[in-house]
Subunit: 134 residues, 4 copies
Amino acid sequence: MSDTAYPRGVEHRVAYRIYYEDTDALGVVYYANYLKFFERGRTESIEAAGRGIAEWNRHGYLFVVHSVQATFKRPAVLGDRIEVVTSFSVVSPYRGRFLQRVERDGEVLVEGTVDCVCLDDNQQLREFPPGVLG
Amino acid sequence: MSDTAYPRGVEHRVAYRIYYEDTDALGVVYYANYLKFFERGRTESIEAAGRGIAEWNRHGYLFVVHSVQATFKRPAVLGDRIEVVTSFSVVSPYRGRFLQRVERDGEVLVEGTVDCVCLDDNQQLREFPPGVLG
Amino acid sequence: MSDTAYPRGVEHRVAYRIYYEDTDALGVVYYANYLKFFERGRTESIEAAGRGIAEWNRHGYLFVVHSVQATFKRPAVLGDRIEVVTSFSVVSPYRGRFLQRVERDGEVLVEGTVDCVCLDDNQQLREFPPGVLG
Amino acid sequence: MSDTAYPRGVEHRVAYRIYYEDTDALGVVYYANYLKFFERGRTESIEAAGRGIAEWNRHGYLFVVHSVQATFKRPAVLGDRIEVVTSFSVVSPYRGRFLQRVERDGEVLVEGTVDCVCLDDNQQLREFPPGVLG
């Protein structure tokens, strides 16, 4: 990772509450559910740049996850208020990269990298549109 | 409920394992997840009658839940093997009714009634097709 | 249902966004997921009354769903902002009842009734504590 | 990755059906849900080695995901029958690694690596027990 490829410029933040639906029998948030929080963060960061996901879809741009890496450092539990922090960069015309983390009171619980591609209505690769994230 | 409307004739059974994804921080299956098991049971009972849900969809029949009632008697826990028991009747040309329960070793954990309607590709009500459930 | 049993007095409202995680291949919110929104609404309405769910749990009060009835009138879709509206009454010392609905721009999408019981740490029934909902 | 660290020796396979609950409004399986399938595969492969997850837990061994990497190659859709293929190796006394993939008719849809640690009842790291996976 180079500083060039990942301008720390803009980080988007959005807060969520942990509910029973997020937890499992170990008493903590189920690991796959952090990826739901990541996806919420990506969705809100895209909308904050001016156009919501549903509207992008209607214009023929589908953003699809190609790969994900996540490291689980500390668990969130029922009742926690967490923040999803998201930044984005286009690493090639056909590849966008989200750096994401889940924080609680400034402490990093989970961090990850999510690479996405952009498809058209026929599920074919297309270039990322300008302005997708400001 | 009359015996006429609910022929006990055929009950469909399908078994599932309880995984972490199904549980919550109280150590038991999360209440909304029993409705996923119900839906799995409906899906398999329809397919067992000859045509899978995806194929019905392609033929222009979408089965959509109108209402649900469920009573939670005993909890399932991690590692349990449960059975979903499903029977079906068409209570009017536009209304199908599934009687469903989740059992563990013959003991009823959850039981419910799920009323469905049938929509066409334009989301308009259509009559239930003959043969949807044998 | 009598007006006595259901004082319309206080309705609690909390808003959520619809994300991909909430939807299914029919393009709308998956039916079981509305019960997650109901549970979020109950959680927030209880916390708004002064004590969060996790804290009630630590004090030996577990609120567990006994039965649910829900009617699905209109679907929510990706990107929608919905509101969960919740009111509560204790219908007997051992039974609490939540009247809940999901609205979008004031239109009712789903409405339901959720009956809960209160358990102690040994999973035994106990009376609802005073003040659980204001 | 060396051949030493990853003996291809034993691959565990378990099959699942894709239901509405697994899909999203793009008409395919929601990306986070593949991690549920991965977890089902790990659970079944551990049980197949002689002791189920719940029993390991009761003996004071909690297997917790430390990190995950997954690449999404092709989507699964409603009605598909998929197989989860799992192999395991202990890469250090405190780190177990699952290589996993989701296949449909022998075609790889998703593949990933899941690193786990073993905790005791006090959430402290402990060594992986011998025999956890045969």
